[in-house]
């Protein structure tokens, strides 16, 4: 913790009170690979029941932030809580869809088997896979439009289809917080619509959804809140207040074409 954080102020106290219950609250998170910080001193609080986008350029530390929150990479410093408890105790309430699943695609597993892995906790160590488990897994596949592929070996799918299988695995987990790392990368327009409908459905059931998202043009349409990062946090809050040309300029620097900014809300056009 830096010396600054030792000085309480009204804002901070209020924010920490909110963070006490938040689906995910991160304080002072720094992660580095070697000597180069990928995420530096980031604070963020997710609003329960909202859909939040993480937006930032390539290499901004978006994936790293998620992985640190999930314990896949070990942070250099920082405190992470989920639903008011240390995140390690809440892992079962958090579902994750990685940017690129680093799995062996020749692994002996069918699509349905991968989805059943999401139900690991329900199945227990020795319990048999019963009809209602299988039905629920099929239901999850149905929600991402993959029912007809249930019996395929996972390597025999296209990239976009593989992505949807991992989304179905996350759905099967029946979690309270969903973290998806670029679920729309390499996915066609119809599939993107289908996935966003699934995610909005989750939100409408009161679950919280956090998505790393690259397409600035759809941020306002898809999301309630946004977190802008470029190694450090640039801004966080409701899309309507935070997703502004100035903040985007600060996030992307010179990398953003001006006409891209002009099309965004708050650009004064």
């Amino acid at each position: 913790m830096s010396a600054l954080s030792l000085v309480p102020n009204a804002d901070r106290v209020a924010a920490d009170a909110a963070a006490l219950r938040a689906p995910l609250a991160i304080r002072g998170l720094t992660v580095s690979y070697g000597q180069q910080p990928a995420v530096f001193s980031v604070d963020m609080t997710l609003r329960a029941g909202a859909m939040t986008a993480i937006v930032g350029p390539n290499g901004a530390g978006k994936s790293t932030l998620m992985k640190a929150a999930l314990g896949i990479v070990t942070p250099l410093s920082g405190r992470i809580t989920a639903f008011g408890a240390p995140v390690e105790l809440q892992r079962h309430r958090i579902a994750y869809v990685p940017q690129r699943a680093s799995v062996d695609w020749d692994f002996p597993a069918r699509v349905i088997d991968v989805v059943l892995m999401g139900m690991y906790r329900d199945l227990g160590l020795l319990g048999r896979v019963r009809a209602h488990h299988r039905d629920f897994a099929r239901d999850c596949l149905d929600r991402v439009g993959m029912t007809d592929f249930a019996d395929r070996q996972i390597g025999q799918l296209s990239g976009g289809q593989q992505q949807r299988v991992f989304l179905a695995r996350a759905l099967a987990q029946n979690a309270d917080l969903y973290m998806l790392d670029e679920p729309f990368a390499g996915v066609d327009a119809a599939t993107e619509k289908a996935i966003i409908a699934v995610l909005k459905g989750l939100r409408d059931e009161g679950r919280t959804v956090l998505v790393v998202h690259h397409d600035l043009a759809t941020v306002a349409e898809y999301f309630d809140d946004v977190l802008l990062i470029a190694t450090r946090k640039v801004a966080e809050g409701p899309v309507t207040q935070v997703f502004t040309a100035d903040n985007l300029q600060a996030t992307y620097g010179g990398r953003l074409a001006t006409q891209q900014i002009d099309r965004l809300p708050g650009a004064g056009a």
Binding site: G71, I72, R91, I94, D104, F107, P108, D113, Y120, F149
Partner: protein
């Protein structure tokens, strides 16, 4: 004699040895599956070679303490300790130096094995006669095995088997997607360690039967063979165990009929025979099935192309296509389509039109994904669905000309 050995009619001791070997084989097969799928097969080779110094040192220690140097339990404890040191050495070299894992394995394997051979040679020159049997740990031998030893092997195999089967779900999760396993809160590092511990247990228990040089084969060949038969990890695990068990059973029986044959090579050769059979004959992933499928598909592609050419009134020059069409009585030797040929061509054309309609429409992704250019749409859709498509594209189309 071989039949008697296989059917356990060679007396109580031989039966115990065969059953013990089979249990060991089953344990090796299921443990090996996770090792193979985690892509750490070679580590087991380092572990097995690292057992040898432990065998020698345990023998010397037991003799020095005035006991029987050949006590199997003592030798196995010694081998487990030195295998553990070898495993630590591999993991230290990979994590603390820039050495890649394969190089670390090569280094540890050869140094430990060399040291072990030196120890064995020293022992041989010390107390002639008393060391008899230590070489059996290289290639395995079940000849004249004590009842207690056989029980130790059977019990150890059963224990390893029980642990792996009880933990098959977390092990599968860690093997398939370690990052996801971490995110789910599984103790991935500890499970990996446990897996290595189980491999070590199999190795140590199998030393007497299979021998340290070949035990890696009993861990790796069964899963590789089993993989040909199934795309489901739970099936692969069990099948691999069964293959390991059968190999060990048959191998032990073979060597019982000819006591001069070392047991390890017999077991490994049996496993290899099952592997070769799987490679050739397995449906799905086997070589023969793949070749047959490929050939059949090629003929269907030619047939379909030929029919479409007929439908469009185009000439056909391709030799195989012509032969196939003629053989089916669809064109005359002079290349003119027969009546049957015209009917089939019209149907093929209609099938194409139906597919095009299906693929253009929304909501049929899975069915449309089955489109491979030769599959008949009637094998994919119901009559009702086809009638609906026909309604959209209009009545049947004839063959031009």
């Amino acid at each position: 004699m071989l039949w008697e050995a296989l059917t356990l009619q060679l007396g109580y001791n031989a039966t115990l040895v065969t059953v013990g070997a089979a249990l060991l084989g089953f344990a090796a097969g299921v443990t090996g599956t996770f090792l193979f799928l985690r892509k750490r097969a070679l580590v087991s080779d380092a572990i097995s070679h690292a057992t040898l110094p432990g065998v020698g040192l345990a023998f010397l220690a037991m003799v020095a303490l005035g006991g029987d140097g050949r006590n199997l339990a003592g030798l196995l404890i010694g081998s487990a300790l030195s295998a553990w040191v070898g495993l630590l050495a591999v993991s230290f070299l990979t994590r603390r130096t820039r050495l890649a894992e394969d190089a670390a394995i090569g280094a540890v394997l050869s140094v430990f094995f060399g040291f072990g051979i030196v120890l064995l040679t020293v022992i041989q020159s010390l107390g002639a006669g008393r060391q008899a049997g230590l070489e059996d740990f290289l290639l395995g031998s079940t000849a004249g095995m004590l009842r207690a030893d056989a029980l130790l092997i059977a019990g150890g195999g059963a224990l390893v088997l029980a642990v792996v089967l009880a933990l098959r779900r977390p092990l599968t999760l860690v093997t398939f997607d370690p990052d996801y396993a971490v995110a789910r809160g599984l103790p991935v590092a500890r499970l990996d360690l446990l897996m290595m511990g189980l491999v070590m247990a199999v190795t140590v228990i199998g030393l007497k039967v299979v021998g340290l040089i070949l035990i890696v084969a009993l861990l790796i060949i069964p899963p590789v063979a089993a993989r040909f038969w199934s795309d489901r990890s739970d099936h692969v695990v069990l099948l691999s165990g069964a293959i390991g068990a059968v190999s060990a059973w048959v191998g032990a029986a073979l060597s019982a009929t000819a006591p001069n044959l070392p047991t390890g090579p017999m077991i490994v050769l049996t496993a290899f025979a099952i592997f070769a059979l799987s490679l050739l004959a397995a449906p799905g992933r086997g070589v023969l099935a793949a070749a047959l499928r490929q050939n059949r598909f090629r003929r269907r592609v030619h047939m379909r192309q030929g029919l479409l050419a007929l439908a469009h009134g185009q000439p056909i020059y391709e030799g195989l296509t012509l032969r196939l069409l003629q053989h089916a009585g669809l064109v005359r030797p002079d290349g003119v389509p027969t009546e049957a040929g015209q009917a089939r061509a019209a149907r093929a054309l209609r099938d194409e039109a139906r597919w095009a309609e299906l693929r253009a429409g929304p909501g049929n992704e899975a069915a449309a994904a089955l489109h491979d250019g030769v599959r008949d749409i009637e094998t994919v859709l119901t009559q009702d669905q086809i009638a609906e498509i026909d309604r959209r594209i209009g009545g049947p189309r004839g063959v031009p000309g």
